[in-house]
């Protein structure tokens, strides 16, 4: 996977976020504070500006730039969480100009570990973890089975979407939605929704 393609992933994620901004915010208004779309859009726009101003020369530079920019521009829970995801992804990716499929999966694993280290989310807590974790499992399983990156990412995208949908009946135990206790049930988690977009774009771009 070339640096160019990886950068394309980030850029197209930003565009998807922009397109789904209102939807994400609406989801957040039901069980949070009505800003997830605004937060992510502000952050990803800043990321675009950053990598346009200083085109990154390595995988590590690209994802560190994305991570740092999210951390310093979002402010909500999603800033440190997505920021950490990309920072760890970049560090695991390393000072290289391309990533093998396995290396990509390792970087993903490292990013997700970062999210968990920061947010302490577990499966079923109704967070972005519930989309990211099944996606990573599907990716790793596909690569293990030798289906190739494109197929494995497709499976990951399907798993992320299923994970996102599975947040609907969950009772939130992390983030603002947890204040609602029972009343959080029946609503789709906004962070899981944006996370599913990230994987969906990966499947469409990293081929």
């Amino acid at each position: 996977m070339s640096l160019d393609r990886l950068q394309e992933w980030i850029i197209r994620f930003a565009l998807e976020i922009e397109e789904h901004k209102d939807h994400l915010t609406r989801l957040d208004s039901a069980i949070g504070d009505a800003d997830h779309g605004i937060n992510m859009d502000r952050g990803m726009k800043a990321v675009l500006a950053k990598i346009e101003a200083e085109p990154p020369a390595s995988v590590e530079a690209l994802f560190k730039a994305a991570g740092m920019t999210l951390v310093s521009s979002v402010g909500g829970a999603s800033g440190p969480l997505y920021g950490t995801f990309f920072l760890r992804f970049g560090m695991a990716g390393g000072e290289t100009e391309s990533l093998s499929a396995d290396h990509l999966a390792k970087a993903f694993r490292s990013g997700l570990d970062g999210v968990v280290a920061r947010g302490k989310a577990e499966a079923g807590d109704k967070t972005m973890f519930d989309a990211l974790a099944p996606a990573l499992e599907a990716l790793e399983a596909g690569l293990d089975q030798g289906v190739g990156l494109a197929e494995a990412l497709k499976a990951a995208a399907i798993a992320a979407a299923a994970g996102r949908d599975a947040t609907i009946p969950m009772l939130a135990r992390k983030g603002r939605a947890s204040y609602l206790v029972e009343r959080s049930v029946g609503h789709q988690d906004p962070g899981a929704t944006s996370a599913a977009l990230l994987i969906q774009v990966a499947a469409a771009t990293l081929t």
Partner: protein, 333 residues
């Protein structure tokens, strides 16, 4: 939306300009949106910083000054500040004895402060301790969730820990006092109306002409339940009784009673509420040693109030009474 503002996106930046212009004892680092004591860093004193989303004024910027905070980081409206702001504030106020971060318990605030502390450790080696406030009894407490929100007790933590720092105590001691205040205080709030986030342009939530929300959060998060509008006497009971039950406060306790306005409620109503709170506490045999009545931790123009009770002992009382000189709280100097 009817507000005294220019562009919604400029509210925070312009309010910071106003704060800076109005208070010569304060300075503002505008790029980082940090309000800090003009005499920072104070050598030989633990630095105290706090911060959070804007829209809760005077919290936190109005509590910067001698005897309270050294700096406050202002986020966008209802959005946590970012770690680089906490880094900047930490470096600004470090007087060589370390810096205490006072953080209200919201995931966004906690994570952003955490990263700020990590950056500070990595970049400058400043010793940072963190105290998270979580006094809102409207939220069920649990180890497995994000836990309770930090609300009114934050003001009291900032004042009392600020006084401890002013005495020259060590970081660990100041942090311990801050934790003690948090553990000895409980709060509960209610809304008559919703506030309006400038960038949203519309009320965050809708309440009928005869409805109130009991257990509201300071960002308009839903509370325990929606009820019919009722008397100050009954509202007082709905707020005070769960607080008393939770700690629990007991007959013979001496407390600081803090009746707080949410931003759109005038003082005359807060005094009516205070009268009810005093009545209810007297009924429980709980004494009021100190009181605070006013709008100190607000939710934009939300109408409503919150009650915070803090169990006092001699140490807390002495630190509460110590001199403080900030735009919003001042005495003894």
């Amino acid at each position: 939306m009817k507000k005294l503002i220019n562009k919604p996106d400029d509210v925070v930046a312009e309010a910071l300009l106003g704060i800076e212009a109005a208070h010569p004892d304060l300075k503002v680092d505008h790029p980082n949106r940090v309000i800090y004591r003009a005499d920072s860093p104070v050598a030989g004193k633990v630095g105290l910083i706090s911060g959070g989303g804007s829209g809760h004024e005077p919290l936190h910027g109005g509590f910067v000054g001698m005897g309270m905070l050294d700096a406050a980081c202002a986020g966008q409206v209802f959005t946590s500040p970012t770690p680089d702001q906490m880094l900047a504030a930490t470096k600004l106020v470090d007087g060589g004895k370390g810096v205490l971060h006072i953080v209200k318990n919201y995931t966004g605030d906690v994570l952003n402060f955490e990263m700020g502390a990590e950056l500070a450790a990595a970049e400058s080696g400043v010793e940072v301790a963190t105290v998270v406030t979580n006094d809102d009894v409207a939220v069920k407490d649990s180890l497995y969730t994000a836990g309770r929100r930090g609300v009114g007790v934050t003001v009291l933590v900032e004042k009392i820990a600020g006084a401890a720092a002013e005495e020259g105590r060590a970081l660990s001691e100041v942090a311990a006092i801050a934790r003690k205040v948090n553990e000895s205080g409980r709060s509960m709030g209610m809304a008559l109306t919703s506030g309006t986030v400038p960038a949203a342009g519309e009320p965050t939530f809708q309440l009928g002409e005869d409805e109130i929300e009991i257990g509201i959060g300071i960002h308009g998060e839903p509370g325990r339940r929606r009820e019919k509008l009722t008397s100050a006497a009954e509202i007082g009971e709905k707020l005070v009784e769960p607080i008393i039950d939770d700690l629990p406060f007991r007959s013979g306790d001496e407390v600081l009673a803090f009746v707080n306005g949410m931003g759109g409620t005038p003082l005359i109503e807060l005094y009516v509420m205070y009268n009810e709170v005093a009545r209810i506490l007297a009924g429980h045999g709980i004494g009021i040693a100190r009181s605070l009545v006013g709008s100190y931790i607000t939710s934009l123009d939300m109408a409503g109030c919150s009650v915070t009770l803090l169990k006092l002992d001699e140490e807390l009382l002495k630190l509460w009474d110590a001199p403080v000189k900030t735009p919003a709280l001042r005495w003894g100097i």
